[in-house]
């Protein structure tokens, strides 16, 4: 461990907070329909889009209508993306398939399509050997934007339900979608794709080039329109890499500085939304309480991961390596990490992308030490509420807040209330379902995969036997259920002998199970969250009295952390024991 390593972690937390607060206020204005400085420029395209879509943005939707719009829009997006990916060769006329790649098999495409539409970006394929530039741009990039916008829209709808004073309207999905894209995602993506290019991220439509190295070996270098996709991949907590090694690739993430920028891009909207929530509820302290909860859990995870990775792995020590800091090298477990990021930049990046549903990686999670690798597991086990995905994080933690309020109410023997609204049986049932469907999907799919020989086909050769095989299987379905998309990347659902997909085939079992896992665990919680919003929207607000449990003080922060940890531990502990904890507690090699 080094001083600069610690400075990276804590400096990051400070910069993040400083950026998220103003963005949160701005987003509150965007979703409350207040004027912002951007109206003058963006008002015209906004109104144009409403006209083309033939929607009336002022028309409110109740939770069922809002949910229906979410589902239909996602379905239309799913169908178009599947079509684009399966007809990859047809689009060669655009000149955007310079390598002449064929389409991936149907089962892999099913998985990929479901993955992008659900904001997961789980990837069984490698970008530079599978996808044409056209597919990456017109297919995947678009879903990076709109799946993120959908998540934010649902979170905003839930906020409106919680603060709603009368009626059943949660706002208008089409308005929330259009405003999220135009006012939030697109401007930030434009600015930061240019920032990334200025630091070395590439953006070109040229074919791959062949270099002849200094010793005469030739090297084919894959290129592409990377920066435009990279910015939204992080900003929308999507995480699907342009290249197979994702943000470890120097063309995606060229320097230590871009690594910092990329981490900020991932967390800035999830963090800002918490402040947005404080603004929209009219009580900023509610936002600060949730922010504190998230930040404490986040820093805890980052510290554990950094210490574990700086210590080094049993395999390194068995091979005789010295993993301490020496002059000119920061030591630690550099297996599966790139030099420019170092231990702190790699450990922090992977905490950032696993607390959110981003799932981009800049190092090989599978090569993390047992404890360092247990951190992403723990983050996923907390169901993406520590900042979480854009929107998904906020609506998920609000469900936990309601649960904590309920448990707190039971402990003091009062009817639980949140922001003046009574939390009753119907809301708690929906909340509990909303919280439990994700773990249920993850555990069910993992059990199916480890118990069947079809599932075990996907396990990588380097992991065969031992706890690593269980870890990578469990992680695969946990990650897909949480719509995260990071991977212990040895686990595969795609066999591709050569680049370009000729002669390749999918592992149907893993592709379909994972695809269904993602779809179920995305849309079921969305519907439960909207139902809770609908149920709360109509409730009358009673003034806070002496006996009202406060939800904006340190006691509540502790209670909330307790509830999140408890739910995660109770659901996942047995499974975690079999994989990462065994790997972490023993120095034994398998």
């Amino acid at each position: 461990m080094t001083f600069t390593g610690w400075l990276t972690i804590f400096g990051f937390a400070v910069i993040l907070t400083a950026l998220a607060m103003p963005l949160g206020s701005y987003m509150a204005a965007v979703y409350s329909g207040r004027r912002t400085f951007a109206d003058r420029v963006l008002g015209v395209p906004e109104r144009f889009l409403y006209r083309v879509l033939r929607v009336d943005p002022t028309q409110g939707q109740d939770w069922k209508a809002y949910g229906r719009s979410v589902i239909l829009f996602s379905l239309a997006g799913w169908l178009l993306l599947y079509l684009i990916l399966r007809t990859q060769t047809l689009w060669s006329f655009t000149g955007l398939n310079p390598q002449g790649f064929h389409s991936a098999p149907w089962d892999v495409t099913f998985n990929t399509t479901s993955s992008y539409v659900t904001n997961t970006n789980w990837q069984y394929y490698g970008g530079e050997t599978t996808m044409s530039y056209f597919s990456q741009m017109a297919g995947l990039t678009v879903q990076n934007f709109v799946s993120a916008a959908t998540g934010i829209a649902v979170a905003v709808a839930l906020i409106r339900g919680i603060v709603g004073r009368s009626g059943r309207s949660l706002g208008n999905f089409w308005q929330d979608l259009v405003r999220t894209v135009l006012y939030v995602l697109l401007p930030i993506s434009v600015v930061f794709s240019l920032v990334l290019i200025s630091q070395g991220t590439i953006q070109t439509l040229s074919t791959y080039v062949t270099a002849h190295g200094l010793t005469g070996l030739s090297q084919v270098i894959a290129l592409g329109p990377v920066a435009s996709q990279e910015a939204i991949k992080l900003l929308g907590t999507n995480g699907g890499g342009f290249f197979n090694v994702n943000s470890a690739h120097p063309f995606e993430n060229p320097t230590g500085f871009t690594n910092l920028v990329e981490m900020l891009l991932v967390l800035v909207i999830p963090a800002a939304l918490v402040f947005t929530y404080g603004r929209m509820t009219g009580s900023r302290r509610q936002g600060y309480a949730i922010y504190t909860t998230m930040m404490l859990m986040f820093l805890g995870a980052a510290i554990v991961a950094y210490v574990a990775e700086a210590h080094g792995s049993p395999a390194q020590h068995a091979a005789g390596l010295h993993t301490g800091v020496i002059a000119g090298s920061s030591g630690g477990n550099m297996e599966g990490k790139d030099q420019r990021f170092g231990i702190a930049g790699s450990a922090l990046f992977d905490v950032v992308t696993t607390v959110t549903s981003c799932g981009a990686v800049n190092s090989a999670l599978e090569s993390f030490t047992g404890i360092g690798g247990a951190v992403p597991f723990a983050n996923l086990s907390a169901s993406e509420v520590i900042f979480g995905g854009v929107g998904t994080g906020l609506y998920s933690i609000l469900l936990y807040v309601l649960l904590a309020v309920f448990i707190g109410g039971l402990m003091v023997g009062r009817t639980p209330e949140y922001l003046g609204k009574k939390i009753e049986a119907r809301e708690i049932k929906l909340t509990a379902l909303g919280i439990l469907v994700t773990p249920l999907a993850a555990l069910f799919c993992t059990a199916m995969a480890v118990a069947s020989s079809a599932g075990r086909q996907s396990i990588s050769a380097v992991a065969a036997g031992g706890p690593q095989a269980f870890s990578e299987t469990f992680y695969a379905y946990l990650s897909q259920a949480n719509n995260n998309g990071s991977a212990f990347a040895g686990y595969t659902g795609f066999v591709q002998p050569v680049a370009g997909n000729v002669g390749s085939h999918g592992i149907t079992f893993a592709d379909l199970l994972g695809g269904l896992d993602m779809l179920f665990a995305r849309f079921a919680p969305i519907l439960f969250a909207l139902a809770v919003a609908g149920s709360l929207a109509g409730k009358r607000v009673s003034p806070a009295g002496l006996g009202t449990m406060r939800t904006d003080n340190p006691t509540f922060v502790v209670l909330l952390i307790g509830v999140i940890v408890l739910v995660g531990a109770l659901t996942f502990f047995p499974a975690l024991l079999l994989g990462p904890i065994v790997q972490g507690l023993t120095g034994r090699l398998y």
Partner: protein, 223 residues
């Protein structure tokens, strides 16, 4: 809204947003990027005597093919040419791609922390590093003195950088083989050592391709 109208809206929304976000946006960024930062946008490609030799950002293998003495042809193993590190050049980190430093099909090695396979891979990397650099290093090298980045596989498989400790050890070999004073090689190492982002993020790194190109300018390259 009726369900039919809603379906129509959904389809139109997906198509319109595809045009905006999937076509207009990336093409606009490509245009601006190509004009404002042409070098970066195209991958910081490096040419020497008009020939493309690589990219500053992409690690490459500084090895030469092994010729089979019996057949006179390049030896292969599973269809991949067998290579041996060229001692005149600084060497990049171990790579998990096939063949090493494959910039057209990147992949992690995915070596687990508690795996015998990992231990064997690391041990092999240590042996290779010691046999390449040990004879030139004063006092010789042991496993405990090998910097971790020289023995551990990189993430991208095309890591363009090595640690300063790694470069300093290799400098002894390169200086001897090229008949250059050690101080001069170390000076070049310092020249191509990058700082940390904002002064504190990431590691200080030595860019191997830039360093090797500079060496060739000083003492003559292959061709």
């Amino acid at each position: 809204m009726g369900i039919k109208r809603e379906i129509l809206t959904s389809v139109v929304a997906v198509l319109v947003l595809t045009l905006l976000l999937g076509v207009a946006y990336p093409l606009a960024i490509t245009g601006i990027g190509q004009i404002a930062f042409p070098g970066n946008a195209n991958g910081q490609l490096v040419y020497r005597h008009g020939r493309l030799v690589g990219s500053d950002l992409i690690g490459q293998s500084f090895a030469t093919p092994v010729i089979d003495p019996r057949t006179g042809r390049i030896q292969t193993h599973d269809g991949i040419p067998v290579t041996t590190p060229d001692p005149r050049y600084f060497q990049t980190r171990p790579s998990g791609t096939t063949p090493p430093d494959n910039a057209a099909a990147t992949t992690f090695a995915n070596y687990g922390p508690n795996s015998r396979i990992t231990e064997r891979a690391i041990a092999a990397n240590i042996r290779a590093y010691i046999s390449l650099n040990g004879p030139y290093y004063p006092g010789g090298l042991t496993a405990a003195r090998v910097p971790v980045d020289a023995a551990d596989t990189s993430a991208s498989g095309i890591d363009p950088d090595i640690s300063i400790a790694n470069a300093d050890i290799q400098a002894h070999r390169v200086a001897t083989v090229r008949h250059l004073p050690l101080a001069e090689v170390l000076r070049l190492v310092r020249t191509y050592t990058g700082g940390r982002g904002l002064g504190f993020v990431g590691n200080r790194t030595v860019n191997v391709l830039e360093l090797n190109l500079a060496l060739d300018r000083v003492s003559g390259g292959n061709r």
